[in-house]
Subunit: 342 residues, 4 copies
């Protein structure tokens, strides 16, 4: 059994990790920390966990994580980087669901995240936890930077096209739509049901923090810098991301075959039949990204449609997938989840 700890279990990625880990057959959940809620039963905060999680939130001061094999950080940006070196030195492996180790270039990170990086020496060691790209490195990693929710969908959607070199990389467009759980469980007016419900809008069009992360990933795939316009929008629903991706084809190719072959062996990427329109509910609660690829009217524009549950394949599920790889388990262990539909 893998001894697991969670730092910051009160947010949405935290409760989602608890949902998945509490039923994982190879996991022994040791501690969930929260400075504010220390002593409170976890299931008192999330009644969905009654009967599944018996732990109380631990005070970090009590060092409840020191015997863990792996610790998940389900914290705001800037926390994991302060604790990572000491944990690694103590032999604890780390999966950070926040952004601290996602950007290889320190200056870029500090510019977009507006703070000084507390552990720049770990940036090179950290492995970007997108198994479809970095499976081998993940297996041997001590420190995983779990990808952002938008970046997962966008990268998986562009991956076959960029690896095959069939689109113009200077003018990619990612028009993305996300449910509100992606913004976390923070008391903010704009995220109230009375504000975000029955409403739709773009946000962060001048620049969103996931932009450099996506650009870094796409550049690795294509072997060169890419030009990307990334437009996130807020959906009046809780879970789900839909990425609509546009690229200009530079040569003729069987797109359906390209996608099916690239993902033939991937357990958590599902290429739909030609002509499909994936819907977010088809992945609700499950660790899968479903894709469809279109070439409208046979023109030179390729349109990729990608859906994922932002809290699962876009966060906690992918984190568990990474843990499985790190500990030599079958990659799907604990992740054979049937989406909840309707």
């Amino acid at each position: 059994m893998i001894k697991v700890g969670i730092v910051g279990g009160t947010g949405y990625t935290g409760v989602e990790l608890l949902r998945l880990l509490s039923r994982h057959p190879q996991v022994s959940l040791r501690a969930v920390t929260s400075r504010k809620e220390a002593g409170m039963p976890v299931a008192d905060m999330y009644s969905s966990l009654r009967g599944f999680v018996d732990l109380c939130f631990s005070d970090p001061a009590d060092q409840p994580l020191q015997d863990c094999d792996v610790v998940f950080f389900a914290t705001p940006n800037g926390i994991a980087m302060q604790q990572a070196q000491a944990m690694l030195d103590a032999g604890i492996r780390i999966i950070d669901l926040a952004a601290d180790f996602r950007i290889r270039d320190r200056a870029t990170w500090e510019q977009w995240y507006g703070m000084e990086h507390a552990a720049p020496q770990l940036l090179e060691e950290a492995v970007y936890g997108l198994p479809e790209v970095n499976r081998v490195q993940i297996r041997n990693a001590r420190l995983i930077a779990n990808p952002g929710c938008y970046p997962t969908a966008v990268q998986l959607g562009f991956l076959p096209l960029l690896e095959a070199g069939v689109i113009d990389t200077r003018h990619l467009i990612a028009d993305c739509k996300s449910g509100v759980s992606g913004a976390g469980r923070k008391a903010e007016v704009h995220a109230l049901l009375a504000e975000a419900g029955d409403n739709f809008k773009a946000y962060g069009v001048p620049g969103h923090r996931h932009l450099p992360e996506i650009r870094q990933g796409l550049a690795r795939m294509s072997g060169q810098d890419v030009g990307l316009t990334f437009t996130p929008h807020l959906l009046p629903m809780i879970r789900g991301i839909h990425a609509t991706l546009y690229g200009r084809l530079t040569r003729d190719v069987d797109l359906q075959q390209l996608f099916e072959q690239r993902y033939a062996d991937e357990p958590f990427v599902d290429v739909l039949p030609a002509g499909s329109h994936p819907e977010t509910r088809s992945v609700r609660g499950a660790n899968v990204c479903r894709l469809a690829v279109h070439r409208p009217q046979g023109g030179d524009t390729v349109v990729v449609l990608a859906v994922e549950d932002n809290l699962v394949k876009g966060a906690a599920g992918q984190a568990v997938q990474n843990m499985n790889l790190m500990f030599g388990l079958p990659e799907t262990t604990g992740l054979e989840l049937v989406p909840l539909l309707p």
Copy 2:
């Protein structure tokens, strides 16, 4: 033209007042105060008002309300009671959309609202602004306590039954459901879309502040104390209240006729045909309460179904209705709003 001011225009009852008053043919909107947002154009906060409201939020310190004929308080509880006496002394009439003057008994108010009343001398003068009950007094009032959203629907639903004395007043039940805008525009976790969306629950079952207000109103109608169980619930939508009311019939009566006759001359109460089920969307954005009365299987239980838009007939619309009465205008002036459906 009536010179109108609003204290606290940043919340939902505030923006709703602005929607109604900006198109009211007899109103000149003079000032909307907000300490925090002073100087900011109102339409910068609510883009729906672009082109309709040109005012900036005023600093209360600048005394922008002193020339007003009437001032609406769209503030949290406990604000109006601090300013009311001085305004009244200056000849300004007041319509308080909060709860400060709704409860006649000071001790009851202080118990339920958890603070000392700052203007107990005004409690007797204040007129409870439910026109269907107090129309004459409203016409002559200087100070209106605008009813709460739940109390409006519950009182209008029970009114014909209590006035006619046909139900057992000891065991009334009001099972009420409200959209989230009733909780105001406060940054609180439980009101996030990710918490309150796709969800339904009761709250405040042990005791809700609208209970004494409703009980006071029902007691006046029936001429005696009433026993009431009031259960509010939170709907995963923004606007709308549905009250489902239960009473035991003490004598046989034509319920449909009773309701139709009682409300025959009321411009803003609509009794639906026998057998109807009013829906909240049928009043969305409009100043109307629609009612249906049932007697399931011909038994001795009467079931009244009442819907209203909590921000209109349950708040801002009723406040404007009261203003019309106070200033001798036709009661429907500026309130001939067609509900937005679908």
Copy 3:
């Protein structure tokens, strides 16, 4: 392995059965029938099942169910009663998720369902599949009448009170609210998102088919006829039922203790701590009914709050629970589902 068939797998209870049974460790899914969709892969209709259900819909004419140990009917009312006798004669056990065998009295059934009963000889043998009441009989049953969604919540909520004889049974009230999936996957205008979304209303107040079913169940619990007013409402969401139940206490009793003791050994009924307000999202996707019991202001009215997922504990999950009992499996097999929250 239990060989399982499903009749009518295209509706919401059908897809929910498939979600549960496809991951059930003791089930071998043999056939899902659909006259209209025969030959189509099940996962083409519900992409959520891709990778989990490989079957195509079978034509009933091909007799694909004849080797099954048990058959679930996820059909409209009136189908199971036509096929039940022949299947039972062939040694196949039946769990009917529709209403055909829920009412013991034939005349009552025919009156409320508006058709002649095709298998009245089975009405006495059929066991009402509410395990918390009929566990022993279910173990030995050949034919299970799986309870309706509303009846499950209402009966579990009133059960401790009626068994203990502490409330006046003449005037019970069940004010119930359901998500729209309870109405099934039928193309009807009133169930469109543009009609039922952002809206709330009661329906069926004069009389709903679940009324006689509930009354029958409550009468068995209390040993006498009961008077019940049942008011269903439609929630603008997909899954979830909330029942708000009212009764008059006839003697003093520790309600919290009463409920906790009654359900102490029940794996799928969860009594929340005193003062709680259960929310529908806390049971989303899981086979559990959560309850809270209140006595507002210490009066003589008891208020019970009950939530369930109408498609799980209110339908498919309870059906699987019944199957587990019928085949001697641990009752929770395949049903240890963590609710999906947020």
Copy 4:
């Protein structure tokens, strides 16, 4: 007073026309036809209209429209073209909210709409009712082809860029999202709340009927054929369209100034301040299109964000705007609607 008739008043554009026309100060509503509902009070179908519309649906066989000055067709595609010539011959002007007269080229229309055109002789006379482009022609028109909902938002968003000739017209992208009311009030499974709620997906990516309409309009603006990729998506809400438009800049230009100048005199197009993100709720129920223009990171891609209420500026409101122009009224008559927010 203008004598107005409506053909097909039972759908969503019909009820929206009724909402607007019933309060229009210069309109006398004479008849609303519906073969199926003839004789039924209009307000029985839409309780929101109780007190505002006293008409019953008329049987078209009774020729209730023959005295009208203008008739609105709120019908499915293919109806108006059958009746238009006779009405025009009788001196009745026509505003068709369906697609019958939107495409100038008959072959294109027949290809996309899959039927033979019944009045090809009117295609040249018909004026495309987008006032911001065709105001003068609308004033003198007998027959208006009211634009589609998507086409209105997309054309208004691209208009300043195309007229100024500052973008590459070969590779335009319109990523559009619409509430479900755009699909009309038809009983179809995919539009059920249980299907379309809590869900998001693209549809019609291979080709949508609004594509040729948009392309025709953009071509007129730019004076040449345009290449357009149009991707519609379905939002889990009722009203509102958000168009996110992408183009490649071919020369440097002050985009904010360009948009503000182009729309300076337009009463129903609102250019938001630089850096804004318009939201659909800011136009709910109102006849306005709000726009924002961005140039992310100062690159060569321009992003235009456009919102409208698909039933108002995208349908019924624009139709009334056209009527105002046709009858010499101030363009805003009856359309000074404050959006409903929250």
